[in-house]
């Protein structure tokens, strides 16, 4: 995608060096990606509030704009103009950096996602590994938030979150191995390209394991222990306010969006769909939002686990299931 031949010709005509062109393109992509993230967050939060209201037989936001559609902009403006509070005992640098360290990895995951045939910013050969490794940096950000705020709720929340994310990374990564085996590549565009039959049909066990551990990774109910309102006030970002709070909020919804897009790429056939190829991104978007709806459906239906149940499920159920799935996939591939 970067520096296509036409652009290179254009650059050489005007005497622009290649690295400057690459840099300019990279900046444009970064801005576009950020805009997409911001829009997706706004849509997701609106959907979340409306869907949760629907599940609880309420209306949800109704007054600002048509059916409350402008409510999120009002909320954003409110958060931006709020006072920025530092707890008196906070570790200032850690406290300041934590929202950034949490947010940036969530946003970097989109770098390798193919949303259409050939529409991807950086089609890495190790794309799948990249997308699994990047959220790992976010864990450090969450621990920083907990430690930096000097607050018992924040520390407990961040410890729970880190334990949960580190534990569920294992079954999550293992569940995907079956897909890599079938597709024969760790490049996301090749994985989608190989999906003539959606992998949700070929890899049903992997799908269940992946979905459950993804819910745990993005700290969504029934795995929202890091921010259990009834126990920990608001978990690791209890002490944050205003702009910094917004970064955490943003990171959470970007992570939700990223999880839905990744599930689409891996299990729901990515851009594949009836009609001509240029409709790919539309199919991709539809599948992604269907996935977001499923995640929200689970979120508003199931009650929360206890922390020991979460750990048990991760290590004693999902991990063996993922390993069995690898075994079955290997056996079936050998027979066929």
């Amino acid at each position: 995608m970067l520096s296509s031949t036409k652009l290179l010709e254009f650059a050489s005509n005007y005497g622009i060096p290649v690295w400057a062109l690459d840099g300019a393109i990279a900046i444009v992509f970064a801005v576009v990606l950020f805009a997409i993230c911001a829009i997706s967050v706004i849509i997701n939060v609106y959907l979340l509030r409306k869907i949760s209201a629907d599940f609880q037989l309420r209306y949800g936001p109704m007054h600002v704009g048509w059916h409350g559609s402008l409510q999120l902009f009002a909320d954003a403006i409110k958060l931006l103009t709020k006072e920025d509070i530092f707890p008196s005992n906070a570790d200032r640098w850690i406290f300041r950096l934590a929202p950034v360290v949490t947010f940036v990895p969530a946003y970097l995951g989109f770098l390798v996602l193919p949303i259409g045939h050939g529409i991807v910013i950086q089609d890495l050969n190790v794309g799948l590994l990249y997308i699994l490794a990047i959220p790992a940096i976010g864990v450090a950000g969450i621990i920083m938030a907990g430690f930096g705020s000097y607050n018992k709720y924040a520390i407990i929340g961040s410890l729970r979150s880190a334990a949960q994310m580190v534990s569920y990374e294992v079954p999550r990564a293992l569940s995907i191995i079956g897909i890599v085996m079938i597709a024969g590549s760790a490049k996301l565009s090749s994985i989608v390209g190989a999906q003539h039959v959606w992998y949700i049909i070929l890899q049903p066990i992997a799908f269940v394991v992946f979905l459950v551990s993804t819910l745990a990774e993005i700290n969504s109910t029934p795995f929202d222990l890091p921010e259990t309102e009834s126990e920990l006030v608001n978990g690791y970002y209890t002490e944050y306010s205003g702009m910094r709070f917004m970064f955490f909020f943003f990171a959470e919804y970007v992570a939700l969006f990223a999880a839905a897009t990744l599930t689409t790429v891996l299990f729901l056939g990515g851009w594949h769909g009836p009609g001509p190829e240029y409709l790919g991104p539309i199919w991709f978007t539809i599948k992604t939002f269907a996935m977001i709806w499923v995640i929200m459906w689970i979120k508003w239906t199931l009650p929360r686990f206890r922390i020991d149940q979460v750990m048990d499920l991760g290590w004693k159920v999902l991990l063996p299931l993922a390993l069995i799935n690898v075994l079955i996939t290997g056996l079936v591939m050998m027979i066929i």
Partner: protein, 164 residues
């Protein structure tokens, strides 16, 4: 040209953060900076076209080792600022050990002739690494898997002991 600029920028960040890790009085800060340092090492791998190794560096070190270290710091009681003055003997010993290490490393660097390869960098490192693991390096690969299994079993035994 651009590669050299990136290399020296990364090298500067790596050296400064490595020094900061050692000089930092706060253990938590030291580990956080260590995480940054390990990320710059991943940057070097990417610069060398070793994308698989680079990703693994992020996955294992930043996502695993650093998080476990932070756990260790947060779950164990510790003073925020330990300022035990070192004894003269300890200082002397440290200086001698560091000087010896620097001398040794310098000698290795001077005596080694670094080979540069004119070959084009490999495009698909993952599949190549996979093939090599299953052919040329199958014995080390199996030995590592036994080692990891032993570590896993050991961890379970250590965890069970505390229950009794």
């Amino acid at each position: 040209m651009i590669e050299q600029v990136i290399f020296f920028a990364l090298a500067a960040v790596a050296i400064i953060s490595a020094i900061a890790v050692v000089l930092s009085r706060n253990l938590f800060h030291a580990v956080m900076i260590l995480g940054g340092f390990l990320l710059t090492i991943a940057g070097f791998y990417f610069l060398l076209n070793a994308d698989f190794v680079g990703i693994m560096q992020v996955f294992v070190y930043v996502g695993g080792v650093i998080v476990v270290m932070l756990f260790g710091i947060m779950l164990t009681p510790h003073e925020a600022n330990i300022t035990n003055a070192a004894k003269l003997q300890q200082k002397l010993g440290t200086y001698i050990a560091v000087a010896a290490l620097i001398g040794l490393l310098a000698m290795i660097f001077i005596r080694t002739t670094f080979i540069t390869s004119p070959a084009e960098p490999v495009k698909d490192t993952v599949s190549l690494a996979g093939k090599l693991f299953m052919t040329n390096y199958v014995l080390p690969f199996e030995v590592i898997s036994v080692l990891l299994l032993a570590a896993l079993v050991g961890a379970i035994i250590v965890a069970r002991k505390e229950e009794h």
